[in-house]
């Protein structure tokens, strides 16, 4: 455990010792901010319409601002995660520091878990900066904090899953770009798998939906924490870590 934390701390420090981390933080906050501004102004407009003409459904902060906001936090995360996870193991391999880690009296799983921890904490930190937008909402209205907290919980689980997948591809190559592209493709595949579900038969539709990375977020976005979804993300994460461990050990 000590070794795991030692490695996690080393990797977190190395994230923050390069300008890339700060650029990602700023960029992420900016893009999500643009989206937030957009959703909020649409909300104001439809709220105005509703009050003036009593037209359509009554808009709520949860339905019209928070849910699309978290949906987009996830979308942007899909693009950001591969760039942050790509270096975790690939860089060690390229710089020959792999040999330091793997000739020290350390188990492969301690290294893998330390790296996973660093990547997950990093992604969570980036996502957490977006808390400024719900806080802004709180200043002008009464958003449902149950929905907000459940959504963050779901996004954190997604962060762990993305990191585990990124870590796996990072363990397969010493080329960071290759690792990032493969990670992105894998993540996108498990997102779009739910599209295929629409056209599949009744049984397959359930199976494909059950595998979808984003499908399992729906409940969180409504403020519901379902054990099925937690188990899905955790088992996906553990499975990817397990594969990474094997990949590192046979290396």
């Amino acid at each position: 455990m000590n070794t795991t934390l030692l490695i996690a701390r080393k990797d977190l420090r190395s994230y923050f010792s390069s300008p890339a981390a700060y650029i990602v933080f700023a960029g992420y906050l900016l893009i999500v901010g643009l989206m937030f501004g957009n959703f909020f102004s649409i909300f104001l407009q439809s709220a105005g319409n509703f009050m003036q003409y009593n037209a359509g459904q009554r808009p709520t902060l949860s339905d019209n601002v928070l849910r699309p906001l978290f949906g987009n936090i996830n979308v942007v995360l899909l693009f950001v995660a591969p760039f942050l996870t790509m270096r975790l193991l690939a860089e060690e391999r390229r710089d020959h520091t792999f040999e330091l880690l793997f000739t020290a009296p350390v188990r492969a799983r301690e290294i893998v878990f330390g790296k996973f921890l660093a990547g997950t904490v990093m992604l969570m930190a980036i996502v957490t900066t977006t808390i400024v937008y719900p806080l802004l909402l709180t200043m002008v209205g009464r958003p449902d904090w149950g929905v907000i907290l459940a959504s963050y919980f779901g996004v954190f689980l997604i962060c762990a899953t993305y990191t585990a997948i990124g870590l796996f591809w990072s363990s397969r190559t010493d080329n960071q770009v290759v690792a990032a592209v493969l990670t992105f493709c894998t993540l996108l595949f498990f997102w779009l798998i739910s599209w295929a579900a629409h056209r599949a038969g009744p049984v397959w539709s359930d199976v494909l939906n059950g595998l979808s990375l984003i499908g399992h977020f729906t409940n969180f976005a409504m403020g519901a924490i379902d054990s099925t979804d937690i188990i899905y993300y955790l088992s996906f994460t553990v499975f990817a870590l397990f594969l990474t461990n094997i990949s590192v050990e046979v290396n």
């Binding site: 070794t3 030692l6 490695i7 080393k10 420090r13 190395s14 010792s17 390069s18 710089d95 020959h96 520091t97 792999f98 040999e99 330091l100 880690l101 793997f102 000739t103 020290a104 009296p105 350390v106 188990r107």
Partner: protein, 323 residues
């Protein structure tokens, strides 16, 4: 302390890096692992360090099998790979701290351990600098400091003086010499003077095979070996052998399997310094033995050494100062 038995490594694609390599290192000894580039030195080192598994054979470090008891084996060794395993974004001090903690040095002893290692390797003056901004020689020394910081009983150093300037080379060689006795050291190199300057014993490896394992004196005396000729004949050399044996300069001549049906081989060992090729050829022709070929045995140990020494011009020029 280190026991290597019948170690072989075949990479994907069937290329054998080392074959049946065996040697042993006693406690406190400094063993030179000498061989030309691509001989399999680094492969052997990587297997010993537990970084890479062997295809077959066993390696025991400090009583632990590097494959079966890898954690214990790794705990007893310090390893400097071919390329120093340093993080360019870290400062020297932070890096050594990380490496020492990784090797299980307790937190309260880390500061003392790394300042000791930095002192030995002469890098105390750059401890706050980023490793990425250091010269190759300094990076190499940081790598060496990383290997000795946790005070391991066994040190595996893969070409520790590569990239250093002559003054640094002498310093590092002195440092390595000082490590002997207390530590068991195995160091690989393709530079003969380096072995002469630091090692008590030497293993010579070439194209994946151990060609000699001996003390320096033993190697030196073996280098005085006699030249050998291989003669290939069409006819049986039975009647020719006594005449060959009586030639001046020939020590012994005996029949040997030529490896081809219908051809006969004769191995002629001749006294050092005498060239009997012409005499042997003329005799074979006179006797009508059907001379097909005559060659001097190509890879004697001496040849290997000559090639090794001449492959490194710069260190050869420095030799007088070192030896």
């Amino acid at each position: 302390m280190i026991e290597v038995k019948a170690l072989s490594k075949t990479y994907g694609g069937g290329r054998a890096a080392i074959q049946n390599v065996s040697f042993s290192v006693k406690k406190g000894e400094i063993l030179g692992f000498l061989g030309p580039n691509g001989a399999g030195k680094s492969t052997t080192m990587k297997i010993l360090s537990g970084f890479m598994p062997a295809t077959s054979g066993t390696a025991i470090v400090n009583g632990f099998d590097v494959a079966a008891q890898s954690l214990q084996a790794k705990a007893s060794l310090g390893y400097l790979p071919e390329n120093p395993p340093v993080y360019s974004g870290m400062s020297v001090q932070d890096y050594l701290e990380f490496a020492a903690r990784l090797h299980g040095v307790p937190k309260h002893r880390v500061a003392a351990a790394i300042s000791d290692a930095m002192g030995k390797c002469g890098i105390a003056d750059v401890k706050t600098r980023l490793i990425g901004n250091l010269s190759k020689g300094y990076r190499q020394r940081v790598g060496l400091a990383q290997a000795i910081a946790h005070n391991p009983p066994v040190l595996i150093l893969d070409e520790p003086t590569v990239g250093l300037d002559p003054k640094q080379i002498i310093e590092i060689r002195n440092l390595i010499q000082g490590l002997g006795g207390e530590h068991t050291v195995i160091l690989s190199t393709h530079i003969l003077p380096e072995v002469q300057a630091t090692c008590s014993r030497v293993v010579v490896i070439d194209r994946g095979h151990v060609v000699a394992e001996d003390t320096l004196q033993g190697i030196a005396s073996r280098m005085q070996s006699n030249a050998r000729l291989i003669v290939t004949l069409r006819k049986s050399p039975a009647s020719l052998l006594p005449k060959l044996n009586s030639l001046r300069g020939v020590l012994t001549a005996r029949e040997e399997d030529a490896g081809v049906v219908g051809e006969y081989g004769v191995l002629v060992e001749c006294a050092k310094g005498s060239d009997v090729r012409q005499d042997v050829a003329e005799l074979c022709v006179q006797e009508g033995a059907g001379l097909l070929g005559l060659s001097q045995e190509s890879l004697s140990l001496e040849d290997a050494f000559v090639r090794l020494i001449t492959s490194d011009e710069t260190t050869r020029d420095m030799t007088p100062a070192q030896v």
